[in-house]
Symmetry: D2
Amino acid sequence: MKHLFYNDYSEGAHSAVLSALSRGNLEQEAGYGHDESSRRAADLIRERLGQPDADIHFVSGGTQANLIAMAAMLKPYQSVIAAASGHINVHESGAIEATGHKINLAASLEGKLSAESVRAVIDQHTDEHMVRPGAVFVSQSTELGSIYSKNELQSLLETCRAHGMYLYLDGARLGSALASPQSDMGWRDLGPLLDMFYIGGTKNGALLGEALVICHPALKEGFRHHLKQRGALLAKGRVFGSQFEALFQGDLYLELAKTANDSAQKLFEGIRSMGFGFLAQPVTNQVFPVLPDSLISELQKDYGFYVWQKVSEGFSAIRLVTSWATPQQAVEGFLADLNRLKGSQNPLGKLEDYL
Amino acid sequence: MKHLFYNDYSEGAHSAVLSALSRGNLEQEAGYGHDESSRRAADLIRERLGQPDADIHFVSGGTQANLIAMAAMLKPYQSVIAAASGHINVHESGAIEATGHKINLAASLEGKLSAESVRAVIDQHTDEHMVRPGAVFVSQSTELGSIYSKNELQSLLETCRAHGMYLYLDGARLGSALASPQSDMGWRDLGPLLDMFYIGGTKNGALLGEALVICHPALKEGFRHHLKQRGALLAKGRVFGSQFEALFQGDLYLELAKTANDSAQKLFEGIRSMGFGFLAQPVTNQVFPVLPDSLISELQKDYGFYVWQKVSEGFSAIRLVTSWATPQQAVEGFLADLNRLKGSQNPLGKLEDYL
Amino acid sequence: MKHLFYNDYSEGAHSAVLSALSRGNLEQEAGYGHDESSRRAADLIRERLGQPDADIHFVSGGTQANLIAMAAMLKPYQSVIAAASGHINVHESGAIEATGHKINLAASLEGKLSAESVRAVIDQHTDEHMVRPGAVFVSQSTELGSIYSKNELQSLLETCRAHGMYLYLDGARLGSALASPQSDMGWRDLGPLLDMFYIGGTKNGALLGEALVICHPALKEGFRHHLKQRGALLAKGRVFGSQFEALFQGDLYLELAKTANDSAQKLFEGIRSMGFGFLAQPVTNQVFPVLPDSLISELQKDYGFYVWQKVSEGFSAIRLVTSWATPQQAVEGFLADLNRLKGSQNPLGKLEDYL
Amino acid sequence: MKHLFYNDYSEGAHSAVLSALSRGNLEQEAGYGHDESSRRAADLIRERLGQPDADIHFVSGGTQANLIAMAAMLKPYQSVIAAASGHINVHESGAIEATGHKINLAASLEGKLSAESVRAVIDQHTDEHMVRPGAVFVSQSTELGSIYSKNELQSLLETCRAHGMYLYLDGARLGSALASPQSDMGWRDLGPLLDMFYIGGTKNGALLGEALVICHPALKEGFRHHLKQRGALLAKGRVFGSQFEALFQGDLYLELAKTANDSAQKLFEGIRSMGFGFLAQPVTNQVFPVLPDSLISELQKDYGFYVWQKVSEGFSAIRLVTSWATPQQAVEGFLADLNRLKGSQNPLGKLEDYL
C-alpha cells in the first residue's frame, strides 16, 4: 500500500502534541482534570472562543462526548433529533439509547438538518404517548463532509429556543469546517450559536481527546458527576491538557485542519483536471470522485479508500479522506497514478455527465 | 510541597512507555484497536498469563473497565456483590447502577470478601422480589492495600461456580499485588481463578490504559459492541497498544510495581524504627502509620497525604501511597523530617499501644 | 355524541369478565400471580395454544408487555427491528429505548414487515460500531389493521433463526386477527411460529390485562424477576387470572373479536353500497372509508373518529374502529346518518376512483 | 387453614370498590386516565388533602409508583437515601437501579430514618467520584409497622430543603398510619410535608391501584410521559378512577384502615392478656408476639403467618398482619386457639421477660 485515504485517524499525533505529552512528565499533578495543563488548555480554549464563562471538560472520544452530553441534556422521556447519517444514529452502537433516549430522525440534505425538518419532527410529537424532543444533534463538518453556515445554525438555534430544546454540535471534525474556504464562521461564532459542543482532537492532531464546551448555564451543574459516572474522568488529566495546550497555544489546531483541507482540494483539482466528475464539490477534507469501476480496481492495488456508492452502470464514487498528516507525495503519487491508469482506459468520453 | 503521597497517579508515564507512544507515530494504522501495536501487546499479555485463548481489550480507565464488565456480565435483574470499600460501591459515582444493576454489599475484612460473606448475601436473595446476584467483584490489591491469597480467590470462584455467577477482579493495582512479598500468586494463576479482570496501567507506569482480560468463553461474544456502546473504543488504539507493549515486552510492569512496594516498605521500616505504630502491616504500596495529631499538622506543611482515620484521642492514622515514580530522596526526606519533628515532640511514651 | 369510533378500549369489560372479578372476592389467595385463578387461566391458555410447556405471565398493558419482553430478550448492544408504524416505535414514549435498546426500522407495507426488509436491516449492521439486531417485533393485527399470514410469519421466523434473533409478536389485537375471515391461522399456529408474544385482553373484553406467552425455553429463566423489576407484578394476581379465566373458559375471547370484526364488516359493506371507496379492504376491526371533507365535518357532529389522511383535494380517509362492545344501533345509526347526509351532497360522481 | 395472617393483600376488593368497577361499564370514556371517574377521584383526593394544585396520577402498584417517582425526581448521577428495610432497597428486584440510580442506605431505627442519619449520608458524598443524594425515601407506615410523627417528617423535609433534595413517601400502607391511634397526622398534613407520595389502594380495599400525588411544582412537568414510558398508563383509566372514587367519596379509605388496625389491636390485647410479650407495641396493622417455638409449630397447622426472628433459645417472634377484610371470627378464633394451646404448654413462667 502506498497510502491509506480511509479516514483521518490512521496516524498518531502531531509532533508538537507528542512533545507536549512528555513535558513535565514526572512533576506531580492533581488528578482527574485538576492538573495545571488542563487548566491552561481550558483557559486557552475559552479565550479563543471568547467565552470566559464556558465550562470545558476533556474526554477521550466522540462517542463518549456524545453519550455524556445527551445523558446530561435530556430528561428520561426526551429524545434527540438527528439526521439519519448522524454519527449517533448509525455508528455509536446504540450508545445514546443505552443512556435511555430515543433518536428521532429528521429529513436531511447532504447530512444537514434544517429548521424545517426539525420542526416537522417536533410537530409530530404531540402527546405523552410519544417521546418529547429535547435536543438537536448536528455535526460540523458533517459525516458527509458538508458544513453548516452561520445562518443555518442560527435557524436551528431559534427552533430549539422556541421549543425548550438544546442545540448540540459534534465537532469531531470542527477544525476542517472552520478552516474551510466555504465557511462563514470563526471560533467566536460557536458560543452564541450552541448550548454544548465539542472540539475534536483525535481527528486533528491529537492522539486522543475531545474538548467538551458547555455554554448553556443550566448544563454546567453536576457535569463532572456525569463524566465520572460514564467512566470518562481520566486519573491523569494531563493526557488531555498537554495535548490541547499544544493545539491551542498558537494556531496549530486550524493550521492542521487547513493542511487536511488543502490536500483534499489538491486531489479534487487534480482529478477534475483529468476530466472526472464528483458527487459533490469538496468543502472540507473529503473528496468523492466518480470513476470507472475498472479504474477503481486498479487504484485499490496501491491505495486504501472506501467505494462510497454506485453511480451508474460501470461507475462508482469513491471517498478519499485526507488529514493533517497526509504526505504531499501521497497526494501527488495518487494523482500521477490515476493519470497513468486513466490514460490506458480513456474514460473521458463517458464521464462528462458527472462534471 | 516537598512531595505528595496522596496516590499513585500523580506523575506521568514511565520513560519507556512515553517513548513507545512516539514510535511509528506517522505510520498509518488500522483504527479502533485493530492496529499492530495493540495486537502485539495483547499477544504479550496472553503469553505472560499463559492464556492463549483469552480475549484482551484495552480501555482508558478503571471505572470504564468496571462498568463495561458489569454491563456485559449481568442480566438486567442481576446484581454484583462487593465489599463496602469496593471501588464500584463508593468511588464511581453510581456507574454500575447507571448500567441498571444493583450492588449488594457483603461483609468484608480489610477490604476483602470471603466465600462465607458472599454466600450469606446469596442466601438472602431467594425470590423474584429481590435481585439475583450474578457476579462477585474483588480488587487486587484492595482499596485498603491488602491482597487475596490464591486459596481465597479459589474459594470465591467455587462459590461463584456453585451459583452460576462470575468472578471479576479489578486490577487497578494488580502489579502491586503480584509484586508483594506476601503474594503467593503469579501471572499464570490469574486465568484459572477469574472470569474477567483487568491489568491496571494508569497506576503502574502508563499515562492511561487498562487491559481487560476475558477468560470465560461466554463473556467474549459481542464485547467490542459493549466497548463501542460505552464510548470506550478509541480511534487510535495505538495509544493503548504501544504503552502495554512497553510494559510487557520485558518485566517492566512488575519491576515498576516492586519499586512502589519497596518504597512503601522503606517508609514502614523507617517509621517503625522511630517507635510508631500502624493500622496494619503494609502489604503493597500503602502505609498507614499512626501519629500524634500535632506531628501530622507539622508534616502536612511539607508533604501531601490523607489523614485516614482518628485512632484515639490525639492520634490518627495517615495514608502514604508510593508509586513507581516516587523518588528515593522523597522517601528519605520524609523519614528524616519525621525523625526531626518527632524528636521535638517525644511521642514515644504514648505510642507503644499501637506497635 | 351518538357514538365514538375512536378505538377499541372506550368501554369497560364484558359482563362475564366483570362477574369473574367478583367471584371468590373474599377468599384469601397467594399474592403476586401465585393465586389459583391465575394458574387456571394459564392452564386454559396453554391448552388452547397446544403449548403445554409455555410460560404464561400476566401484565397490565401492552407497553409494559413490550418493554419487559425486549429487556428480557436483548443483550445491551442489541436492537429490535420494527416497522415505522410499530407501536414500540411511535406510541410508547421511548419505553424500549428507556430499557437501553435501539429500534431499527425496516421497510414495511401496510404495517407489515417482510423477511426481505428485515434481512436488509441485518445486512447493514456489520460491525461493532453499529447495534446488532437481536429481535424482530411484529403486531398481529398490525397498527393499520392488516394481518400476517402463516407463511409470512414463517419466513420471518426463519430469518430470525438464521441470525440468532428472536421473533416477538404484539398481540394487543390478536383476537381480531385470529377471528378475521382472511386469517389462515388458529391458536395452535402461534407457538411454533413465535418465541414470545402476548394475547391482548384490554382491547378484547377485559378491563386490563395481557397474557405474555413465552415459547422459547431460553427466555423463561428469571422472567418473574424482570416483571418485578419493571413494576409489573401485581400483588393481587387474581385481577388478571379471573378475567382471563372468563375469556378462555369457553370461546369468549374469539367471539368478542368476531363481534368487533363483524361490525367493521357491516360498516364497510354499508358504506360501500353507498358508492364510497376505501383506503384498503378491512381485514379486522378497522375501516378506512374515503369521504368528502364536507361530509366528514357533518358526521363529526354526532360521531367520534379520527381523520386518518388526506386522499385528494376535498377528500379524506377516516378511521372507524369497532369493538366487542359496539352496539348494533350505533353501526346502523352511522350508516343511516351517512346515507342521509350523503344524499344531500351527491358525492357519487367524484368518488368512483376510490372504489 | 383457618386464616392467613401473612399480609394485607390476600383478599380481593371491598364490596363498594367492586361495585364501582361495574358502574357505567358500557359507557364510552376517554382513554389513558382522561375518563370522568379518574377526574372525579383526583378531585376528591385533592379536596381531602387540601391541595387544590396537586397533580394526581394513578398507577397499578407500589414498585411501579416508586420507580417512576425516582426516575422523575433524580438526575442521572443522583441517588436516593433509604433505610436498609426500605421497600425499594430489598423488595423491588433492583427496580430503582434499573432506572439508573443508586440507593444510599442511612441508619434507621424501627424502619425509620432520622434527619441525622440522612445528613450523615449527605456529608459523606462530597465530590464527583460519588453519587449525589437527590431524594429521601420514607414509608408510612414503614415496612416494620412503625409510623413517622409530624415533627420527624418536618425534620426530614428541612434536611432535604437544605440540600436541594426531594422528600418522597411510599404510602402503600398510608391508611394504617393515618388511622393509627398513635398518629399525630391527618390528610392535610401530607401536602406541606412531602414533595411526592402515593396513597396505597392495593393494601386498603382496592383490587389494584395507587394514587401518586405530586406536590412540588417542578415534578409535575412531563409526568404523563414518565408514566407512559414505564408502561404505567392504562388504556382504561376507569379501572383506577372508579375504585378511588369509591374509597374517597366518603371516609371509606380510613375506615378500612381503622378496621385493620383494630383487628391488630385486638390480637395484641388478647395475646398480651395471656401473658405473652412482643417485639414492639403495635402501631398499625402488624403485631409481633413472642411465642415458644413449640407453640408456634402448633399454630402453623391452622394459621398462616411468618416467623419473623428468633428472640432467644426456644422463643421466636411471629408477624401477624391484619387487613380491612380480616374476619372477626378469624381474630377470635386465633386467640381462642392460642389460649387453648398455651394452656397445655404453660409458658407463662418463662415469658415475663418479654412483657
